[in-house]
Symmetry: C2
Subunit: 136 residues, 2 copies
């Protein structure tokens, strides 16, 4: 009876990272941000400033909020204190961050705070979908 | 060295089902549907007909689509052929359905095709967040 190799438990964020990062800017309209979400078939849009540094995040849920509350600008709906992860974090750690903070995605930033991708709850669920619980 | 109990692998949809089911109707406006998503902090809204039978699904991604393409009614943006799961399906199976079809949630229906809840990729990711990969 061979124990599972340790490696299995250590699956990292970079193993499931979707690249290249699709990002938006704070100057976009909500309609433009919506278009980017739809064209790329995604739910999370990290928002960067002129220096490509992360300054917020917009999700399709925020777009629904704008619709529900008749809000007109990205800066009003974007979440400004963004929880992130790094490519070398474990997937367990990323999943824990999302679950504890009740969020559905994390921008992945490198050591210069540049956005290199996003990992979403959907990506993590896909892992389970591909391999099954307990078999990863 | 004790093998994991079989039970672990057999975790079922009903174990993580969020109840009661929040549903919308085809007569709602997109703004009303958005409000329900926001008030309940959810991303998926099964749409039912007068007999409470499932007839479509709206997600916050569809709301973003309505915004991007200036579409005005629920019936135009809802997805009509809805993939579902049952309470007694395994979570693995539900995750596989989502992953294969690139969707992030499944209405859970009983044997009468009544919606009893939703299971989302976020719910599955939360399982991982609580217990870690390989430890469920
Ligand atoms: C194809 S996904 C793309 C974005 C992302 N993968 C997600 O699921 O949010 C978005 C579409 O999937 C549809 N959808 C979501 N759950 C569904 C389900 N259980 N059955 C059929 N369509 C569904 C939504 O109505 C929406 O139009």
């Amino acid at each position: 009876y061979a124990p599972k190799p340790m490696k299995a438990k250590m699956k990292l964020v970079k193993d499931i990272l979707s690249r290249p990062a699709v990002v938006g800017t704070i100057k976009m309209s909500i309609t433009e941000a919506s278009r980017i979400l739809i064209e790329n078939n995604i739910n999370h849009l990290p928002i960067v400033d002129e220096k490509e540094m992360l300054s917020g995040i917009i999700t399709s849920w925020d777009i629904a909020k704008a619709m529900a509350q008749d809000i007109g600008s990205i800066s009003e709906i974007m979440t400004k204190s963004v929880l992130c992860a790094t490519p070398d974090e474990t997937i367990d750690m990323a999943a824990r961050k999302m679950s504890r903070n009740n969020i559905s995605g994390l921008p992945i930033v490198d050591s210069n705070n540049m956005v290199v991708g996003v990992v979403s709850a959907e990506d993590i669920s896909k892992l389970i979908g591909r391999t099954g619980l307990n078999k990863i």
